[in-house]
């Protein structure tokens, strides 16, 4: 049941960076990593995430948007902000510098929390949304969840679990166990999901659970399946112990 690992040197480097990320968050008494920090952690483990920059002014946001390419999404970024869609702190599909400048103002004006900044990120196309999560069970230890994601996650409640660590066969079997697994196949002109990357992401989340004691729970929601099949973590939350 031992999944394939990277080389030892890589692992050490990754561990050091991940440890630093978490240690400094704990030093600031954060209960969770911000979205920006959460995705940094995920990408250290090889999980594809959105291209994004943290901006601290409207001007910074505009130049970040120009660099990333329109359309973009703006999101308030704070470790205190765990479920953004409920706070009116997200602005989607911004197509111009003017859009970005106005959206920046609205977010800063409406969110009462102290923010780390405003995240400018690429707008990922695709209607198929998954959720990947990590939970710690007192008996089974770190367990990875895969499910139908997005805002309807708790409506569909189509989720499957595996105890970490597990291998590619088992990760594949997780996708087989979903009731709505058809979403992973060719779908209304869109390509089947990149199964290899999806399975590696599931294994990687398990590795986070095994290697980082301080991570108590984790959500990647949504992980969007793009029309050409690639997957990308669009929002993420890492809860600390």
């Amino acid at each position: 049941m031992t999944p394939p690992n990277g080389s030892k040197a890589m692992t050490l480097k990754k561990d050091k960076q991940a440890d630093d990320l978490i240690r400094s968050a704990l030093k600031r008494e954060q209960r969770a990593l911000s979205e920006y920090e959460s995705k940094k952690l995920l990408s250290l483990y090889g999980i594809p995430v959105t291209r994004e920059q943290l901006s601290r002014s409207a001007g910074e946001a505009v130049s970040a948007a120009a660099e990333i390419g329109f359309p973009v999404v703006l999101k308030a970024c704070s470790p205190e902000l765990m479920h953004k869609s409920e706070h009116g702190s997200i602005e989607l599909n911004l197509r111009s510098e003017g859009d970005v400048r106005e959206a920046y103002g609205r977010i800063v004006g409406s969110v009462e929390l102290e923010l780390d900044g405003v995240l400018v990120q690429e707008m990922v196309p695709g209607q198929r949304e998954l959720v990947i999560g990590l939970t710690r069970d007192p008996q089974f230890g770190p367990c990875v969840m895969l499910g139908i994601g997005g805002t309807m996650t708790e409506v569909f409640q189509d989720t499957v679990f595996r105890m970490a660590p597990f291998d590619m066969t088992e990760a594949n079997d997780m996708t087989e166990e979903l009731r709505f697994k058809k979403i992973l196949g060719a779908f209304r002109g869109q390509k089947p999901v990149d199964m290899d990357t999806l399975c590696r992401a599931l294994i990687a989340v398990g590795q986070i659970g095994l290697e980082l004691e301080a991570v108590s729970e984790l959500d990647i929601n949504p992980l969007i399946i793009m029309p050409e099949g690639r997957v990308k973590a669009v929002d993420a939350l890492v809860v600390l112990k």
Partner: protein
Amino acid sequence: MIESIKDSPLYPIANPKSIAIFGASNKVTTMGTGLLGSILDLGFEGEIYPIHPKEDQVLNLKAYRSVLDLPTVPDVALIVLPTRIVSETMDACGRKGIKHAIVISGGFKEVGNEGVTLEKELVAVANKHGIRFLGPNCIGVTTPRHKLNTTFMTYEGAPGFIGMASQSGSFVTQMFNYLSRHALGFSTAFSVGNEANIDIVDCLEYLSACPDTKVIALYIEGIRRGRAFVETARSIVPKKPIVAHYVGGSETGRRAGLSHTGALAGPDRLYDGMFRQSGIIRAQSIIELFDICWMLGSLHGDAGRRVVIQTHSGGPGAEAADACGRSGLELPSLSSETIKKLSPLIPHTASIGNPVDFTFGKNLMDYFSTIPEVLLEEKNADVLLYYFSMPNRTLERMLKHMGVPSDEIAALAPELLDAQCEAIINLVETGHKPFVGYTFQSIYDKLVRRLVERGIPIFQGPQRAVRVIQAAFQYTQLRDKILSAVSQE
């Protein structure tokens, strides 16, 4: 994993040569006396030493005042005493040199507070003497081949191939009658109680090594050593199927968390995943648990998803076909070879499709021999699902109407029954594919009964038959999944 069954702490518990029993007396209404009665009833062949502070004899056996007075060191101590004196009794057993025990007494962790403390004390005493024990708060063990049954109800029926570990004693002792009705039985069954010392994982290891166990049944309310459980099960499944019925997964038990994942990790879904990762088939009820065990324990060859149905009535065939469709099983078209072979056997009113509907043939015996033989050879199908419809009484009536004198019927009917029974058995035993029967007749109908007693699985109604085919197919898949993972390592 253990190397040999004799390395398991459960070996002396399930196969003792001698037992000391605490709590049996001449008062018939006590639990201890009941359990001793049960042991005697099955004809346990080893030594039994009742320990009683006052009596010289208990149920006609010589009783001893203290365990220390015993002439030998018994293999196992069976303790059915009030909670407060269990630890001191365990201590005395330890001083005598006893290494294994079964603690039936309750009043420990399951009652909370003081019980928790008492259980810790009991574990400490056992550890001090190196005693391994089952329980407390359990009903013990049954090993019918060894003529051992420490549970309350008298064992019924023959020893069987189902090895069980249960977190409810009832699903051991209260199932004897149900199982024997289906010509099934336990190889060994453990009631694990509070699992203070020996737990379900230990039972899995024992049952894995047990040569009489063809299939392992689990009744689970909560797994304690989760990670060891998954790994142990995965090492067993390639050679032996495991079926579990899990209760306790109510969503009210889910933990509150800050993430979606925490909120969605209700125990039921989590256990679904853990079972699948373990390669364990999950049953939805106790009845289904034993249905699946029956099927898996009597399997000839691997089950697949392609089913061919043999019937001689339209409705029961359609019903079975519908059940297959709902369960993700396939009904392949028959190959041209099969159709060619069936044509001379089947009347023009019949339909050669899938289901194969024989209607009313010229030669009744074709239904029991030649037709199923052809269908078991069908290259497009993995399983034969077979309908049994004819109650014995109708058979006798038909013979009467054919003009057979009644004294000849009396001789002929059993002969026909024999011929039908032997034809089916011969097919199943020489075939390389699973054969599953279904019927709406009683399990005591003459033909059904004879076949069931010879180990042919015949279920009440097609839905139960289809469910076990689905489960057997799932076993093939789960086993192959684990084997492919092992081969990649």
